[in-house]
Subunit: 188 residues, 2 copies
DNA sequence: CGGCGTGATGTCAGGTGCTGCCATCAGACT
DNA sequence: AGTCTGATGGCAGCACCTGACATCACGCCG
């Protein structure tokens, strides 16, 4: 059990999820998380910039998925449909994530700090989406608006998915929500 | 100059704006803000829940304006147009706010913590907007989608307004951005 | 006019998040 | 075996934030 047990990040994430699930995020200290992972507080902060960040490990991969999906979309596809393909792909990935997304969402819902962090992560996704749309030739403000609208649709669909007791199809929820947005912006 | 100089909140806000403007928000401590306002750190935290909050004093009034504008909108108005009226009214109010909005925006742009706080404030606006739309009979997910879309339009228009050197008309920018969103969601 | 209640403020102690600095130690490479 | 690298530990210290208690200005009431 040397000083060098592998996968320190993974152990820290697991410990944080367990402790936050048991007694709540705010009632969990970094020292406790680190100890359960067999590490020290100092090492925790070498792996994660701050306490909140540990619960968002993996957000970068979601960003990559969004961006690469847009990049792979046919050149002729309308911006909104390219963005739609991206958030549907993200939804599918999350649905394949097992219990983690739901567990994470429950913890986030219990802490304002975590909600703030989630919002800035989503804003970062929107920003990356907008960048990729601009690379496709979409000009401002259409690129930013498309990206923000897509993320809003994603967020609302995700919230509905979390709220459901039975496991619905998240990509389908996303598609339906986007259709609802289209109807709404058309004045209906 | 008794213990009881009036308008402690206002003095704290002024001190926070000055110090954050001079040397940056992160480089400003709560003790310094309180001292410049002629108060102590403890008293600062009696007026504001945390250090970030002082820079968002007045956000509640914006929420009230949004909600009341939707409430006053004719019953027959489409949800998106009721929301549009609300964010245009908010834009007009901000434009009348003198230097403060620009000054605040510059400070917020320099701190990730403040950006997080701003995002949750905007989300809170969206939530209040959605509540008011539901009161008008708009069902889910249309209410949430309309509200989120409106706030996204508002945010993007505000960012553009801040980025301009000359003082353009913010409500007009908001209207144009909404039109752009309508075009984008229509697949153009 | 003087006591008294109320509310804003001050003071102090302490927990927690986070960082800088330096030491330590496991494994890899030579 | 010597050395280098990188992950970790230990410690000091600052800033944010909170609870508990004391203090003081002001207004009210007798």
């Amino acid at each position: 059990m040397g000083r060098w047990e592998p996968n320190a990040r993974g152990r820290l994430l697991k410990a944080a999820l367990e402790l936050s699930g048991e007694r709540g995020y705010e009632q969990t200290t970094v020292v406790e998380i680190a100890e359960r992972a067999g590490l020290t507080e100092r090492t925790f902060f070498r792996h994660f910039a701050d306490k909140r960040e540990v619960l968002f490990a993996g957000a970068d991969e979601l960003k990559d998925l969004l961006v690469s999906t847009v990049a792979k979309a046919p050149a002729g596809l309308a911006p909104i449909d390219a963005a739609a393909a991206a958030i549907e792909a993200a939804g599918a990935a999350i649905q394949d994530g097992g219990d983690l997304p739901r567990q994470r969402a429950a913890i986030v819902a219990g802490s304002r700090d975590l909600q703030e962090r989630e919002l800035i992560k989503l804003a970062s996704l929107a920003s990356a989406l907008a960048d990729e749309l601009r690379r496709r030739g979409v000009v401002e403000p259409a690129a930013s608006l498309t990206a923000e609208a897509a993320i809003a649709v994603f967020k609302i669909a995700f919230d509905r998915w979390i709220g459901e007791t039975d496991q619905q199809d998240l990509p389908r929820l996303i598609r339906e929500s986007l259709d609802a947005l289209k109807a709404v912006t058309a004045g209906r």
